[in-house]
């Protein structure tokens, strides 16, 4: 299976949300990383066939997905970043509704619904109205919906927003379990979500693909560029102004700053081990740091 994103752009009035994006995806988990407003959601929507590219095309095994239509969406699972649910539906009814939308046979659907409910840990709330669900439960129901048809292509936009750490780990494991024979395309700005599962990471900045690489490779690129330094309160603002700062932590001897910079930023800085978070800092602007 090969999903080819060929020179795809999306333009709203005079603003490019996505600009000539190209990538080829095969089975495995791909992580789309980028700050807010980078165009992640727009790209995801085009992949989900609910938004038309302004230029370019998306091909699945050399067939244009907009021409495949129903056949494409048949093997698609999609979880948008923002979505609503029918408040007066129960979880089971909601999933049965989506099972019918996805063209599942009814008998098969009944079992499948139970299965996905179990996957997202909602079995005991199956008969409750969605209106009474918490934010995290709603998102889990959204995930369940996306998995109903055993999608060959799973597109999930910020799937872990609003989930508690336990559920996040659960979901992460779920993804890596099922990723064997399918394409999972996942966007996030919570870097720890993808640390262990992503086959490749795509960095998106202002609608453009700036890097596409394996995690190891990315870490390699920032290796030796992450520094730790102990500073005093007085010089902290100056440091913050000059460099990209990661964690700031107070300790007995002052304030420990993590700095991402090509060269040694200050005299007493020591090089430290790089993490994905540092990769993120390295590639995106200072302004984006807040969103990490």
């Amino acid at each position: 299976m090969r999903l080819l994103i060929d020179n795809v752009s999306k333009k709203f009035k005079d603003k490019w949300a996505i600009k000539y994006f190209s990538a080829e995806l095969t089975e495995g988990v791909y992580a789309l990383l980028g700050p807010n407003g980078a165009g992640k959601t727009t790209l995801m929507r085009m992949l989900a066939d609910i938004s038309m590219p302004s230029t370019g095309r998306i091909l699945l095994n050399d067939k244009d997905i907009s021409l495949m239509g129903d056949d494409y969406r048949d093997i698609l699972g999609y979880l948008p970043q923002e979505f609503g649910l029918y408040k007066n539906f129960t979880a089971v009814r909601f999933l049965m509704y989506f099972a019918s939308l996805k063209g599942l046979d009814k008998k098969f659907a009944i079992d499948k619904v139970e299965e996905v409910l179990d996957l997202v840990n909602l079995t005991k709330d199956r008969k409750r109205k969605i209106g009474t669900f918490s934010g995290g439960m709603k998102r889990r129901l959204g995930i369940a919906q996306a998995l109903l048809n055993d999608p060959k292509i799973l597109i999930v936009d910020e799937p872990t927003a609003g989930l508690d750490p336990q559920e996040r780990i659960r979901f992460r494991n779920l993804l890596s379990e099922i990723a064997g024979d399918r394409i999972v395309f996942l966007s996030t700005h919570i870097v720890s979500d993808i640390e262990y599962i992503a086959k490749e990471v795509l960095l998106l900045k202002q609608g453009e693909l700036i890097q596409r690489s394996t995690l190891g490779n990315l870490l390699e690129q920032v290796k030796g560029k992450v520094w730790s330094v102990n500073v005093t309160q007085a010089v902290l603002p100056e440091i913050q102004r000059q460099f990209k700062i990661g964690n700031i932590q107070r300790n007995e001897s002052g304030i420990e700053c993590r700095i991402v910079h090509d060269e040694k930023p200050v005299e007493n800085a020591v090089a430290v081990h790089a993490t994905l978070e540092d990769v993120y800092l390295y590639f995106f602007d200072k302004g984006a740091i807040k969103d990490v």
Partner: protein, 276 residues
Amino acid sequence: MANRKKNTDEFVDMMESKEFDEIEKKLNYYFVQYPDEHKIDATIDTLRQYVPDKKKQSTKLVERFWALLKHSGREFSLISKSYWLSSIILFIFGYLITNYGAYNPLFTLVILAPIPFIFGLIEVFKGREQGLLEMEMACKFSAHEIMLSRMLLVGVFNITLNTMLTIGFLPQVETISILEILLVWFTPFTIFAAFALWLSMKFRGAVFVMTFLSLWVSFSALVVSYPAWGNFILNMHIAFHFLFMGIGIIMFVIQMKQLVKKYYYYEEVGNIEVTH
């Protein structure tokens, strides 16, 4: 707490552990009975009268009303301009059509009277619709105060419009006194306003407006196509007017109280919630 700990510390310092043991032995000798439930309750009840009351919001009605008025001044600019404008246009349109088609101006009044209030309720519940409720409730002027002051504005605006329309129609209905004309629209107005308020607390803004307007259009069509209905309203005895108006106002006040109660604590708003 800290204080007591300090005391015990000093106490411990003062005595040797041997002395401690001795005292403990001695004390064990005595049997202290735990007071029974009944006695505890009685003590609490006795003490209760000395506990100060929870500070009430602001006891004086006048004071509260003034606060509301002041607040309305602030809210004025927050109600959308298109609301003011469309209401005025609607009334001008009603005036022109009535004059043009030589319709009974009293019917026009009855039909138009509650409409600005209905649309005004959307403005009143704007915070709820847009998911601001939780934040509004936490602010200094809480949600129900905002709602009440907006409702006051909308109500005053509505009544002003109606009165102006009444004055506009005066030359055409010389036979009836101005008081009677006022009563003709004011009585149905109160009843429908109360009903509208009730509906608007049950349903979201759009659904409420649609539901109410549907009923309103049906009612208006009946008034127009059954002269008897219209005449019933027009020729009602003045005592009945006051009776119905009284019922309307009482219903309205009950609804207002419910509104205040409902939007005072967030838990009671559960059924109108914003999708994520």
